[in-house]
């Protein structure tokens, strides 16, 4: 069986601005048709990585390739392979939407006849046909985002890089955007999407990469990362009597491992704890709680999401003390 070449391969890329290290030995691979959610706090190195991929920035060391083409050496080929939508719109005064798209189509070397058809097609895909005669600078932010995506799709790129596409969109537009991205993936496009709206990403991406302080903290399929980062499960006990909260906290601290963090909440009459205990161990603790006649109405496992994972990984990155053991599976990697 012939294995398909990955669409994006970033190998040991380091980018320094003077003494400041923006990217530190970044390695990342993305296969065709995958949607990568590229997340990290502000200033983490996301935009620097994207700039290197689109050929706007030269790595200090390492290589980045798209479809086997070096991003620095093969700039002209990269421009045809990649559709890039930066976080700023880049509007021109006094230009109507149709003229704006016409300019970019011509700039990408599309013939006039083919361009006209393609413009109509991308306007239909992104839902901007009714805005074709409006001036781009007068559009609302959400409308501009749509036009920006239409512009990105014009030359039918294989890799689409979208920097914060959901920024400033209303809930309906956000849902439509999500559907649009899924449709693009359905057409076989590879997508890299950055966003601060993590629940959005978790719904559309099949792969995530978390970057912090220029270091890739985790990457791989979303479920794998969630499982690996959150190896300690979070449990919540709900009581009916607030006065028993202290005694239950004391009881739990005696029976759980030392690292289990206990968080009581008087207002909610709950105690949350994070523990590496397996199901049997938890069942034993529950039996003991019941035996001690604590007024418990519920014990449940709290599901962690991408936001929790992001917070865990980036906090560890910020303190430069990664508490997780560097673990690796076939698909997902959490970097120590």
């Amino acid at each position: 069986m012939i294995q398909e070449e990955p669409m994006v391969v970033i190998e040991h890329v380091t980018k320094k601005y003077g003494s400041f290290v923006a990217l530190d030995d970044l390695c990342l691979t993305l296969n065709r048709g995958e949607i990568l959610g590229f997340i990290g706090p502000n200033g983490a190195g996301k935009t620097t990585t994207i700039k290197i991929l689109v050929g706007h920035s030269r790595p200090t060391s390492g290589t980045a390739k798209i479809n086997g083409v070096d991003c620095t050496q093969g700039a002209s080929k990269i421009k045809k392979l990649v559709g890039y939508m930066p976080d700023i719109f880049g509007s021109y005064d006094n230009m109507r939407v149709s003229e704006y798209l016409d300019f970019f189509g011509a700039a990408f070397g599309m013939r006039r006849k083919q361009r006209r058809l393609r413009i109509a097609e991308v306007m239909e895909i992104t839902g901007v046909t009714h805005m074709k005669d409006l001036f781009v600078e007068s559009l609302s932010h959400g409308m501009q985002q749509r036009v920006g995506i239409a512009r990105t799709l014009l030359h039918d790129p294989e890799l689409i890089i979208l920097d914060e596409p959901a920024n400033g969109l209303d809930p309906r537009a956000r849902i439509e955007m999500r559907q649009l991205l899924l449709d693009l993936a359905g057409r076989g496009k590879t997508l890299i999407v950055t966003s601060h709206i993590l629940p959005e990403l978790s719904r559309i991406c099949n792969k995530i990469a978390i970057i912090s302080h220029g270091i890739l903290r985790a990457d791989g399929p979303i479920e794998q990362i969630l499982r690996q980062v959150n190896q300690k499960r979070v449990w919540e006990i709900i009581l009916t009597d607030v006065e028993k909260l202290d005694s239950l906290q004391k009881f739990l601290s005696e029976h759980l491992e030392d690292e289990a963090s206990l968080k009581p909440s008087e207002a909610e009459m709950t105690i949350r704890f994070q523990s590496s205990a397996n199901d049997e161990e938890v069942q034993k603790i529950l039996s003991l709680i019941v035996a001690q006649q604590f007024p418990v109405v519920q014990l449940r496992e709290v599901q962690t999401d991408l936001e929790d994972t992001f917070m865990t990984v980036t906090q560890e990155g910020a303190s430069q003390k990664v508490s997780l053991e560097g673990s690796e599976s076939e698909e997902g990697k959490v970097h120590a």
Partner: protein, 552 residues
């Protein structure tokens, strides 16, 4: 203290560039005085020498103020509007009067400081003798202060109507030119006419300009004033007219300082093609080029950057270019008509000189505004990032951008050709001269476009790019003329000749044998300078684009 004044005034001192601008008048006038300071210990009792130096000092200061004043107030309101702080300002309890006074004083106070710094140079003139405070220094500073307030007021008014910074700066300079020079025109035409109303109105209109009053104070004949008897003082008239204009401009700007200027709906984008048959027919009749028609797709062999530059510029649209060409053509023919009618005893050479000045004014007014922002505005708006991801080469971008300005300027130049054609018809012997003048102007246009594009490409923001470009090119044009004004004294023939060699319009004036320029041999020296400057400008511009398209 008015908080707006406080903020505007303090922000001036935070920028090194603004401080440098403040120092320019003091430095230049001091240098002038130092050069003209008598070398021997004997001073002529007549005071002629000191009056000559004082005249140079006055004109120089006036010219510098004209160049510097419009910049800050022109940017002031429109910048706040774009940044969104103007809306915040309207939501404070500050009244529009206080906001206006704050803005105006914020623009004038730094200029006041600039003028204060020129006092030592003025004192040096005074020390040379022949100059009194009551007749010379006081009136000079009064005219300069009133002129600064008047130009600041008009620039603020322009700023309140503008929607982007470069158009505000361009329009403010256009208004400045109209106010200082343009208003003198009607009196030139109507003086001596039998229609007394026309004479009266045009006489008062010319006093909107500080130039007649300045010339009177500096001991020269009041500009455009002919005859032996001066009926009234230009200074007094200027004080009255300028105060009135400041008040009117204040009212115009004041009524714009209201939250309703943000209460505008988005353009509906109704195109001619979508209108009814009757409306389409009417628009076909009234518009040579209908701005509401859908534009054609960019051709397969057309440079897309060139088309983009035309389309994203309001004055780049065909409808506006045609209007501009029409204005130029009408002005040139009108000027030539006056020569032909012989009413004013204007010679063909004088008309030719006026045409050259008109064309150069247009070139200096339009070219830096369009070329300086070619790269800077694109970087500032984020468009450059988008342009970089297209496969367009740096050469194609450079050519597209330069041609977009070049074509416009060429059309403006061509529009004035009818005037020259009539001149050749009136005096066929001038044909060779006129052709050389046109060649000179073409070269001057290329020089202005490439040099301002090169200057602008060194900046990442449009405002400093435009301002620097305007300052350098207007200085290149105005400073040699200032030196030319002092051609008999204090400057000698050689200094004036050398100064004129770097002036983009002097060769054309010299070829046209315009009064005062006949003695200078500027061709081919001036052409060599302009050609070399154009090549260097082109090289710098292309290099900058190439650098900006490479990975960081």
């Amino acid at each position: 203290m008015n908080p707006v004044t406080q903020r505007e005034f303090i922000s001036t001192f935070r920028s090194v560039r603004s401080l440098a601008l403040l120092l320019i008048p003091a430095v230049l006038t001091s240098v002038l005085i130092v050069f003209q300071w008598p070398a021997d210990s004997v001073v002529a009792q007549s005071g002629n020498k000191s009056l000559q130096v004082f005249a140079m000092f006055g004109y120089g200061l006036g010219a510098i103020l004209c160049l510097l004043t419009p910049v800050n107030p022109a940017v002031s309101l429109v910048k706040e509007r774009i940044q969104g702080t103007l809306e915040l300002l309207f939501h404070t309890p500050l009244s529009r009067v206080r906001i206006y006074i704050g803005k105006l004083s914020g623009a004038i106070l730094p200029l006041g400081l600039s003028l204060l710094m020129t006092l030592p140079a003025a004192a040096a003139c005074y020390a040379m003798g022949g100059i009194t405070f009551g007749r010379h220094l006081g009136p000079l500073y009064l005219v300069l202060i009133l002129g600064a307030v008047q130009l600041s007021s008009i620039s603020l008014a322009v700023s309140s109507y503008s929607k982007n910074i470069d158009s505000a700066v361009r329009s403010a300079y256009a208004w400045m030119l109209l106010l200082v020079v343009g208003v003198l025109g009607p009196y030139q035409v109507f003086q001596g006419s039998e229609n007394q109303t026309k004479v009266f109105v045009s006489d008062w209109l010319r006093h909107l300009s500080p130039l007649p009053a300045l010339m009177e104070v500096l001991g020269h004949a009041d500009i455009a004033g002919h005859g032996m008897i001066s009926t009234s003082s230009s200074l007094v008239r200027y004080c009255i007219v300028s105060c009135l204009s400041i008040l009117i401009l204040g009212l115009i700007t004041g009524q714009r300082l209201h939250i309703r200027i943000f209460d505008e709906s988005r353009a509906s984008g109704v195109m001619t093609e979508d209108r009814s048959s009757l409306q389409r027919l009417l628009r076909r009749l009234f518009f040579l080029v209908d701005p509401q028609r859908r534009s054609w797709s960019i051709g397969n062999w057309t440079n897309p950057v060139l088309v983009k530059e035309f389309r994203c510029r309001k004055f780049g649209r065909a409808s506006w270019i045609l209007r501009l060409i029409a204005i130029c053509a009408v002005s040139s023919i009108a000027l030539t008509y006056f020569a032909a009618s012989g009413v004013q005893n204007w010679t063909v050479e004088m008309i030719g000189g006026l045409l050259v000045v008109l064309q150069m004014s247009l070139i200096i007014l339009l070219a830096p505004g369009m070329s300086a922002g070619l790269i800077a505005s694109e970087i500032e708006s984020g468009g450059w990032t988008m342009l970089r991801i297209t496969p367009q080469s740096s050469f194609s971008i450079a050519i597209g951008k330069l041609l977009s300005v070049g074509w416009t300027m060429l059309l403006v130049l061509l529009a004035t050709l009818p005037g020259y054609v009539i001149m050749i018809y009136l005096k066929p012997i001038l044909e060779q001269q006129v052709l050389m003048v046109v060649a000179s102007l073409l070269l001057a246009t290329v020089f202005t476009v490439t040099v301002s594009a090169a200057i602008g490409s060194c900046f990442r923001k449009n405002t400093p790019a435009t301002i620097t470009s305007y300052s350098i090119l207007t200085s290149l044009t105005a400073l040699p003329i200032l030196i030319w004004i002092g051609r008999d004294a204090p400057f000698g023939f050689r200094i004036v000749q050398n100064a004129l060699l770097v002036n983009p319009m002097s060769a054309a004036l010299s070829i046209m044998r315009t009064t005062g320029f006949e003695d200078y041999q500027l061709v081919p020296g001036n052409w060599y300078f302009l050609a070399a400057g154009s090549v260097v400008g082109l090289g710098v511009f292309w290099f900058q684009i190439h650098r900006l398209t490479q990975p960081d």
